[in-house]
Each structure stands twice: as C-alpha cells, then as structure tokens.
Amino acid sequence: MIQLSSISAKWDAYVCEPFPVLVRLSITRIVHGSNASEEDELNISMGVLLVLLAIPGGFVSIFLFDKYGSFLQWLRGQTGFDPLAAAFPDEYFFIVLSMAVTGGVAVWWWDSIFPDRRDFSNLVHLPLPTSSIFLANSTAILILTGVCTIDVNAASAVLFPLIVGGAQTSFGFVARFAGVHALVVVTASIFSFFAVFAIAGLLMLLLPYRFFRRVSLYVRTAIATVLLASVATSFAIPNIIRELPRSPQSPVRFLPSAWFLCFCQSLHGRSADALTRLGHVAIIAVLCACALSAITYTVAYQRCFIRLPELAGAPAGTLGRGTSWSFRLFDQFFRTPFQCAGYRFVLKTILRNEAHALTMGGFFSLGIVFASHAMLSAVNGNRISALPTAPVLSIPLILGYCLAVGLRIVFDVPAYIQANWIFRFLLDTNARETVTLTRRIVLCSVAGILLPALWIYAYFWGWIIALWHITVVVICFLLLTEIVFSGFCKVPFTCTYPLFQPAAVVCVIGYALGFFGFAIVMSEFEDEALARPLTRVIFLAVMLAVWYIAHRLNRIFVDRDKHLIFEDRPGAYFDVLHLSDDG
C-alpha cells in the first residue's frame, strides 16, 4: 500500500515535469488538429474518436457469426468445415479494414502530426531545447499510433477468433488463431499509419513549404481514395491471391494488403512458397515504413519547423490570379449579384479550405470507387451490348449522387464562422436567394460529370440513347436537389454547426438508402424503359411529373416561411400560448 502510494506520488510529480507536459500538448494538438481555431470547429474528443474507430471491427466480426456458427452450418448441411480456409477472405477484409481505418486516421491527422506555427510561437521562445519538442512530439506520435492500432483492432482481435473457433473443440486453435490474427492486423495498421506519415514527410522534404501545403490536399484525397478502393475491392481480391502460386506475375502481388494476408497464411503454416515470400515482404515493408517515416520526420522537423520564421518571412504567394475567366464562364447561369458573389465564395472556400476540400474529396472518391465497381461489373468479360446495361447507366447517377450529397453536407460545415458578419450585415434574411444559389451550384457541379458522360454514351450507343439518358439523369438531379436541399436556408459555410447528433444515424441510413434508390433502383428502371421506345417516353413524363410535384410542394409548404439563418438552433419543445393575454 505504501509502495503504491509512493509510486502514485512519483507519477504525479513526473507528469508535472516539462517533458510529459509537452507530450500531452502534442497529443492534444494531433487529436484536435492544428487548424483548430475556434469553438465552432468540429471537435471530436479522443473518447468519441476511439469508439468510432473501434466500431467497424466489432460490427463486422458480429456479422460473421452467421458464416461460422456451428448450428447454422448444421442447418445448411455443411460438413468437413475448414475454419482456416473459410477465414481466408475474412482475414483479408480485416487486414484491409485495419489498414484503411488507421491510414484514414493518419490522413486526417496529416497536418497536425508535425508541430506547427502555433507550437513555434508558444514554445520555442521558452527555455527549452528544441530537441525536447522534437522528442515529445515523436513520443506523442508513437503513443497515438499504439492507441489507435490497438483500438482499431481490439474488437476484431477478440471477437473474430472466438467466432471462427467457436465450433472447434481445441482452445489451442482459438488461442493460436487469435495470436496470428492480432499480430497481422496490428502490423498492417502500423504499416498503414507510418506509410502515410512517410509520404507526408517525403513531400515536406521534396517540395517547398507553400507548395507542400497545396499539394498535400490532393495527395490526402488520393490516399483516401486508395484506402476506400481497397475496402471496396476486398471481396474480389482474396480469390486472386489464392491463385497467386499459379500466376505469380499477377499485379495483385504489389498490394500491401496482399502481403499481410500472405504473412498471415505463412504464420498459419498454410502458404505456398510464393505466398511465404510475399509474407516476408510485409515484414520488410513495415520496417521500411517505420524507418522512412523516422528519417523524413527528423529531417522535416529540422528543415520546416526550426526554420518556420524564415518561411513566414519569405514573400507571400498570390491567390486567384488568372482564374477569373473560369468564374466568368458561369456568370450567365448565376444571374443576380448575390448568386454571382455566392458561387464564387462557395467554390473558393471548397477549393482552398482544407476541411471542406477533404470532405468533398472524400465523397467524390467514394463516388469514383462505386462507379469503378459498377463499370467493372458491366465490362467484366462482356462485349458492349446494343443498349447500355443498368450498371453502365448507373455511373453518372452514382458520381452525381456522391457529389450532391457531399455538397449538401459540406455546406453545413462552417468556415471561419467569425467572418460571417459580412453576410449578416449585407443580406436580407427574408430574401430566399440561397435556395436557388445552392441548387444551381449542385447542378453546375453535376454538369461537369454529365458533359463528358454525354459524349461517352453517344460514342458507344449513339446520340439518341445518350441524350435520352442524360435527360433522365438531369431530371433525377433536379428531383434530388429538391429533396436534399429542402428547407436549406443558409449561405453555405456561414452558419453554426447544425445539431446533427440526434439525427446523425437517421441521416446516414437515409443517405445510404437514397444511394440505393437513386443510383441502383433508378438505373434498373431506366434499363427496363430503354427496351421499348414508348416506355421511354412514359418514363420521362413520369419523372418530369414527380419532379414538378416535389418542386411545387417544396415552394408551397417548406420554403414559404423560411428565413436566412446564421445559427442553427433547435426548435422549442413547447410554445407558450399566452392564453391569459388580452386580445
């Protein structure tokens, strides 16, 4: 007891030393993000973040119970069940999931992993060697990598082996499976985190600082797309990996996730030579990623952090020179002065503000992943048919849906909310121009997809089919914007965060169902309608009628009493009726 209290006292004294204080500060900065500036920013606490990161692994494990449950196998009449062979694709999915989630976290923390300008101005003038800031930040990164890796994989490391080995009589099998699974997903996570970190460090070293800031946005979006694509293709890749011993030149051997699956198989003693060799590549890759990130971080710290005042003192770059012609292109579409100023503001905010650009990039990447999936399933060994099939028809719908929903969500994310005074000051809150503005922005953005799509459809199936399909798609988007932007009475980015927590789950389910209805079901209907010319005309007429009804209903019931808002407050739970008042 005495020993425990003395250890506790020593620990309390230690955490008040400069080094732990610096580590704590670095952890807080990384988690909150270096751009965290005001109260209105979206702040996810570490606890919430850990819960969110742990959820996918846990859920997926539970869903697999159906596959491995012995009673269900008995009901299906499955005998001679080989759990290791059955776990092959699932193991791959868990590897990809852990890499995607941990890599996604590293992409999210991209800017805050390195100490920033704020750290410089607050810490460097204090009596501390700059090496201690470096060491504290390194320690914070290692702690967060460890916590994140354990958290992402904890649920699957416990539940998945229990589910796979549930029907096995030997505890040794479960323990061994659990050990191998945990080791593989943890190393895959570490590789993913440090690989992203190494890319950031390399870019920081190779590019001038200002250029790095611009380029990193695109690189982050590209990495996020790759991670999403790896999850989306995780159901197809394991079969190709199985065939690797027979076709060793398959490009799948370059996939890091394939290396880790081979590593897992070699630990289970189930791999052929070709797979074992790839398993070794996984170990080398982890070591290389760690070493490269350590080297680039050290050099980048010296080159960028220590020299921050030099970089700040250098002449500033310019914004927007030579881009005014691109805005003039759309001036005819946005007629009033408010619309002209508004769409320029919206486009510049999305392109230049990191959080907005990343969110939009994420949605568009999601669209590209799903569209690629649809395209692959359409052309997979098939010749081009006389009429486009449903997956082919769904491609512009998928891309446009992701773009439209992305815009709807990103418009709700405030950008430097203190600056919204200019809109509060200048705009008439009774004017309802924002509704028109936001809908036109979405339609303009979708036009960027539809024009090349028109040309591609015309090239393969002729102008009549292309024009008919694009007309259907345009009507679909008109309808979509009516639904998605119903009651949206804000200038994008200028309103406080909506109180979305109570409705967040409903929103996510709604958008997922909307995707299914809009992109999948609609393209199936369209496919059916394409077969007969008369049905095509009826289909078009019905679509137009549905859109018109939605449009009128919105104007009459939803938009009628709306005023421009800058603060999204919940409505009162009850109204005071003042029944005792005279008159």
């Binding site: 807080t28 109260e39 003038h125 204090l126 009596p127 005042p309």
Partner: protein
C-alpha cells in the same frame, strides 16, 4: 544587458534588416518604431533567438545568445505580435503549462498564476477555453506568460493590441515600473504616443535600416520636433497624408 551588433537578415535575396545595432541596458525601455515592412518583427525574432541572423550577432551579458539559447531564454519574457494561443486549453491551463516548461516550482506557480489572472481581470474566465477569449484577454494571457518567471529582459511586440483602456493603462505603468526595477525592455509598437510616454530610448527603422537611435528626448531635440509623431514623419514617412486622404475621398466619390 542586450546588445545587437550589425544585425542583418536576408529572406532569399531580399534584405529585411540591415546593420541594426543597439545597446539595451538594464533599466532602459527601448521603443522600436517604423512603418509596416520596416523590419521590426524580424528584429524582434532575431533578438529573441527565434530567427538566425544572416550577419551580426545578439549578445546577452556579453555572450552570443546562440551559445546558450536555453540559458538566455530563462531570462527572457516575450509577448509575440499575434496572440496565437491553443484554443483547446483554458487560460489557467496554458499559464500552468508555460510555468512548468519554465520549471517554476508547483505550489508557487499555481498561486502566481491565480494572482496574476486576478490582477489582470482574467480570474472569472480562467477555466474557460481560450477560443472564447477576446483579443484583449489573449493579450493579457500572453503578458502573464511573459512575466511569470520574473525575466531580466522583456521583448514586447505590440503588447497593447486589443487591450481595453484600464488594462492598457496598467501595462504602461507596469512597463515604466519594470524599467525602474532594472529590467531591460524592448518595446515594439505602431502607437507613437505610447512609445513617447513609455520609452526612454528610441530605435527608428525604415526599410530594414536604422534611421535614428538614442534617448527619446535627444532625438526629438535634434530634429526640432515637440512630439514623436512629428519626428517620425520627418524621418520615416515619404507620403503626404493630406494628399493621400484627398485622393481616397476622390476614389470613394468616383465609385
């Protein structure tokens, strides 16, 4: 106590500061004034050791500050131009962190932070996130952070920015009092009236070079001006404010 000799800084090939030399003794308050882009901030960064000079050196008690930067910074209190604070910390948390990093013993640190926050009217919001602080409150937090360890040298870059009248009055008196206690104070500002009232010595910069330096009264007497504003315009301003005002009015009317 703090000497700068022939301080020069180039950003690429562009000279930001050229041959700035001064000698700041204990008890002196040296006011550094100059128009935007004259090199004030670069000079401040060099004398605090945040920026390496391209040429020249900064001496603290006769020793180059870069030979023992940590030792120099133990004796340095610094208020930067921008109150760039951590928005996810409260004012008290931030000051405690600074105190720990300055190795001030814990019981003394807590009391000192509380007392200073009380005296500078921050006590009520000491546990609030600094994201909710006004510019003046952030400036006061920075001021407390600079004074926390009773430094020998104080470098203040626009310390009155955003302060209300009473806080500004307190700070002006405090600077004078600290000067009388033998502290060396480098005071950078655009507000000429305050520099005139507070600073015993002046360093006037323009385009990175020293135009005039010495005791405030001497410079004014030498140039035959009663006020620092007159002296400043005589030395620095190459535009006619009345003509520019007229031109602006013309443009506004034209619009």
């Amino acid at each position: 106590m703090l000497q700068a000799s022939a301080l020069t800084k180039y950003y690429g090939s562009i000279p930001a500061v050229q041959d700035v030399t001064f000698d700041l003794k204990g008890g002196q308050v040296l006011g550094c004034v100059g128009p935007n882009g004259s090199g004030k901030s670069t000079t401040v960064k060099m004398i605090t050791g945040l920026l390496d000079p391209s040429r020249g050196q900064v001496l603290f008690r006769g020793q180059d500050i870069h030979s023992d930067l940590v030792g120099f910074r133990k004796n340095l209190g610094y208020v930067p131009e921008e109150p760039n604070l951590y928005p996810y910390l409260s004012g008290r948390e931030y000051l405690e962190m600074v105190g720990i990093l300055r190795r001030i013993p814990q019981p003394r640190l807590g009391k000192k932070v509380d007392d200073l926050m009380e005296l500078l009217s921050l006590h009520a919001s000491r546990h609030s996130s600094m994201a909710s602080y006004s510019k003046g409150m952030r400036q006061r937090v920075l001021l407390i952070a600079a004074l926390l360890d009773d430094p020998e040298v104080l470098v203040l870059d626009e310390p009155l920015s955003g302060l209300d009248v009473s806080s500004a009055l307190i700070l002006k008196n405090l600077i004078r009092a600290l000067g009388q206690q033998g502290k060396a104070i480098f005071y950078c500002s655009h507000v000429l009236e305050i520099v005139e009232r507070v600073c015993s010595h002046l360093l006037i910069l323009r385009s990175g070079a020293v135009l005039a330096s010495g005791p405030t009264g001497d410079i004014q007497k030498r140039l035959g001006h009663d006020s620092l504003e007159g002296t400043f315009h005589h030395l620095v301003e190459d535009v006619d404010p009345i003509k520019v005002t007229r031109d602006i009015l013309d443009v506004i009317r034209g619009a």
